[in-house]
């Protein structure tokens, strides 16, 4: 569950950048948007910040404690598209010594995404 400053804007980014589908969306009694999204079969939630509940966004904390990892068929194209839609490069895509072609972006809400695929003939293990 990713906490963001503005869930409506963040959800729109994940749809545009990663072709995320919206599974559900509701607003809590205290006014926070909570949405379940899915990128292919991988589900995650996007939730408005609520500091009283210890749900704090990267914008407020000045960084993030977790990164999401996407395994995709064409990471160069996915990364280029995610940046074109408003992400920023943390490190550029390249063949990495740990056996992946991978790059990393920060999305407009400040969450970080690794975008990659195994090098060589390997398929993702899951």
């Amino acid at each position: 569950m990713l906490t963001v400053k503005d869930a409506t804007t963040a959800i729109d980014y994940y749809k545009r950048a990663f072709s995320a589908g919206e599974v559900s969306r509701f607003v809590t009694p205290t006014g926070q948007v909570v949405a379940e999204l899915a990128i292919e079969d991988e589900h995650f939630f996007v939730v408005d910040e609520n500091r009283a509940a210890q749900n704090v966004s990267p914008s407020s904390l000045g960084g993030t404690t977790v990164r999401m990892s996407l395994l995709v068929g064409d990471p160069d194209a996915v990364m280029e598209h995610a940046i074109a839609e408003g992400g920023t490069t943390v490190f550029p895509i390249a063949d990495q010594p740990y056996g992946m072609r991978q790059g990393r972006i920060a999305d407009p809400s400040g969450h970080h995404w690794l975008i990659g695929k195994p090098l060589g003939n390997g398929l993702p293990s899951r």
Copy 2:
């Protein structure tokens, strides 16, 4: 991928608290532990902090931007066990108005875990 101050200690906690299995573990050339763990079929990584690479732990940031959600058969027992192993309660387990029996803990590394199951006869959607 969860960034922590001390991956070795954190991995041990996830094994004890959540019966996580260790899929792999290696040490980067700059000395950070990177481990892949799995709770049943759900995989995640635990990685030592490396601020130069923008991998920052909850301890360093003073909070966390993401929470993990565990759907389990007996959330009361799982939550009690996770606290006995060193976690702290963020909110106690209870029947929540959004249709789940759920509680929330902070683990010793500062990452937050929701522990719950759907109320009534519903089964988890995944």
